[in-house]
Amino acid sequence: MQVKVLLFGPAAAAAGCDSLTVSVGEGATCRDVLAALGRANAPLEAIADAAKGARLAVNHAFAEATQPIQPTDEVALISMVSGG
């Protein structure tokens, strides 16, 4: 299935776009989508890294790495936040 991932801040700047659509298998989890982001866009690989604190938000809430993604979900990469 195709999953569109919204990008913000340094992630959007590195990828050169505000969103990226990746192909993953049915039943793919957040972990799978993060990995697919890194494969789809080389500059994103270091940013979409769970070990560095990158997380996906699914429908505006932080999601566990093991959470499966539904085709209708709104998915966003939340990394390197810098509010305040």
Binding site: H60, V81, S82, G84
Partner: protein, 129 residues
Amino acid sequence: MSVHIAIVDGPVPATAGLAPTEVGRVGAVLSFDGIVREMEDGRRLIALDYEAYEPMATRELTAVAEEVVRAHGLISLACWHSRGRVLVGAASLRVVIRAAHRGEALVAMGAFIDRLKRDVPIWKEPVWA
């Protein structure tokens, strides 16, 4: 116990959070303004542009605020955060905590801002001079 959260376009208004104090129980009102500084990484800037992923940013701020109010036994916590351009010298963040005593207010202020900087989907981008 109450929480008020607002993401506002541009700098936070100067009088936000200074409404009359709840009479009786409140012994401490602690107010923090985060101000845009002139130098970042040794370079001069004229402003910061803030981007918020809404409605998640407001939801996360609200969840963090409720958690901090509960954990520290606060009476209330109010937070304003900017979106869009904030010039050097203006405030991009205001947090106002009301509590019975100063001790819990000071600890809670640090904890809330730490959580905000880690968990709330807001990004800033420098506008260089």
